[in-house]
Amino acid sequence: MSILARALAACLLGGLLGVAQAAERPEEIVIGITAFLSGPASVFGEPGQAAAEMIIDNINAQGGIDGVPVRAIYVDEGAGGEHVVSEYRRLVQQEGVSAMLASISSGNCNQIAPVAEDLKMLNIMWDCGTQRIFEEGDYRYVFRTQANATPEMVATVLYLLKTKPDFQTIAVVNQDYAWGRESWKIFSTALKALKPDVQVVAELFPKFGAPDYSTEISRLSALRPDVVLSTSWGGDLDTFVRQSAQRGLTGMSTFVLPLAESSLQRLGKDLPEGVIVGGRGDHYFLHPEFRDDPAFQAFSAEFREKTGAYPIYPVFHMAQALAALQKAYEIALENSEAWPDTEALVDAMEGIEFRGLTRPVRLREDHQGLEDQLLGTTVHSDTHDFAVLDNIMIFPADPITTPVGQISEEWVETLDPAMLEMEVDTYQHGQ
């Protein structure tokens, strides 16, 4: 009769389906994955989704996990924080998911962690980098299968000081949200600890997803800082670098972009030489230690054929998260005959060690992943129509990650300049 009545009947039907929970061996393992599938950040979410689909297809091709096929449901972070939280809750309560891989944005990770703990749902933070979650609370159901802001920023400072030890001024243009603000706090504190005489000439925080940086670029062009740092990523980073290159700012200052590994191919020739680039972990499609590894080459080729692009760090992070989940199921199945429920999976995740496509990662007792950090400097090459990395250094995770139980911003203040002498594996592009 009225729309109202039909709508209510529909949701009654939907409700009944959700009530039957999976008790024993399910006929499929459903996992929820949140990622940016719209907006400027979709240049991250789409490859992440493609990687997940590819890996899950491969798992199912070998009969799934212990014979049970895996299915993924994707939630678009682009629809805003509230949508992600309510969709997350709907998946857990109505779709009966066994695990959740949540999210790219640090903001969403902050909001989801307590909700996951509340819903008692295994939650793997597959890409977000905010270190505050594990430092401000201890979680049973929340894990991070990759590093966090601290090792990434400390490694970047070390690489910057090893390659350009005598720069005087620096400016920052970060996105105005959790990641942008916190990463700058850690980077600037570490830099002051290791090189106290550096002067910060400008701190700019344009809106997340801002389409136009012309005013910021004009201001930086006038100030001419030695170094311009930006931890922005995805579409925002592409826009910022393109507009800076157009107006010659990249020629005047050394750009330090700790997340630009993900933009190399998209920026093409717009990304000049001499830019310091990081990959939030040891992720690089020409990774010196794994370039010749057959599994790495096979994955990279299959991914390129499916998406037309080389894998970027969100792809490696997705691979790591799924590898960890698979390993957890293996461990849980070894421990007991019954099909692992969430509690069994969570116990298996404690202190787990696993390998995605590059160096292995180990989870500490505070559920934080220890992941080595790779950085390099861009150089144009004749083999690819976009910049590749030279003078690559890989920093071991342990010395540059905040010890368990300490707060990053305080620990970073105590860094000792002697750290600069740290011995690090270094590779030139040719090798």
């Binding site: 907006g39 700019l204 012309s214």
Partner: protein, 301 residues
């Protein structure tokens, strides 16, 4: 605030104001005649931008000469302005002129929601880059800083052409004077036998084309992503309300005020950049509710 920074802030402010003016002038023109605040105006901006980008990509991938991308901007604007403008005015707005103001406002809000999804369906969610028109013109150095000629010269020039052109059109052509007449006093104009529907259609198409032109011109300077429509529309609300609804020249000055306010904020208090336009709007509306140039209507009993 050295003279150099002052000069730079002004240049950035003018470039940004030019863009905002193009969108705002269309909005104020439509309100002046139809007395409808077109919430869907931001969608014309966005779709104009996407169309220009698509044409540009087609040109460059088709191997055609780069300079063709300039006329492509105008073509995109006219195409979107006429197509979408006439479709919406004839099929929707024409049916509700008699209805209450809130319903007219909501029809355009509904159209805005529909077009937001249409954008997503047609152009997807991936960012679009098409900066041939910008790159071809190269950069120039001003006060030690490199500016793209496109942003420094083309945008303000186009805005000026549109402002002067519109002024001449409104004051010195028959069609223009008819539009002015309907703006000043709709009942009197109708009484003199002016065909209101034709005037509404031409005004709406003209206004929509300006917004699409604003979008087309902006496409080389920014990444095109879903949501650029909603940000631009609320900013042009601020410009139009500050200038005074229906005031064309007023919109130019208000856009300049907002552009400079925003760029000076980036230089002095970056945190206030986003806040400036609305702060200006609140202050102006509190002092002069009808806007800087608007005329207060008194009620006769």
């Amino acid at each position: 605030m050295t003279p150099q920074l002052l000069w730079l802030a002004t240049l950035d402010g003018v470039a940004y104001a030019a863009l905002v003016f193009l969108v705002a002038v269309g909005l104020t023109l439509i309100f002046g005649v139809l007395r409808v605040l077109n919430v869907a105006h931001g969608s014309f901006y966005a779709i104009g931008a996407y169309t220009a980008a698509s044409l540009g990509i087609a040109i460059s991938s088709g191997g055609l000469p780069g300079w063709l991308s300039y006329p492509a901007l105008i073509l995109a604007a006219v195409l979107i302005g006429t197509l979408l403008g006439s479709l919406i005015e004839r099929q929707l707005l024409a049916r509700i002129y008699g209805k209450e103001e809130v319903l007219q406002l909501l029809v355009t809000f509904a159209v805005f929601m529909i077009l937001e999804d249409v954008q997503r369906l047609v152009w997807g969610v991936q960012p679009y880059f098409q900066d041939t028109p910008l790159r071809l013109l190269g950069t120039m150095e001003v006060a030690g800083v490199f500016y793209t000629r496109y942003q420094l010269l083309v945008l303000p020039a186009t805005a000026l052409v549109v402002l002067v052109g519109l002024r001449l059109f409104l004051r010195h052509t028959l069609q223009g004077r008819v539009i002015l007449a309907v703006t000043q006093d709709r009942e009197a104009a109708m009484a003199m036998g002016i065909d209101a529907h034709r005037v509404y259609l031409t005004t709406f198409v003209l206004g929509a084309s300006f917004a699409a032109l604003g979008g087309a011109l902006a496409s080389p300077t920014t990444a095109l992503v879903p949501g650029i429509g909603s940000d631009m529309i609320v900013l042009s609300f601020a410009v139009v309300a500050t200038a005074g609804l229906g005031q064309v020249e007023g919109a130019a000055l208000a856009a300049l005020l907002m552009g400079l306010g925003r760029s000076f904020a980036v230089y002095m208090y970056p945190e206030f950049e986003v806040l400036m336009p609305y702060l200006i709007m609140v202050v102006v509306l509190l002092i002069r509710p009808q806007g800087l140039f608007g005329v207060a209507e008194t009620r006769r009993i």
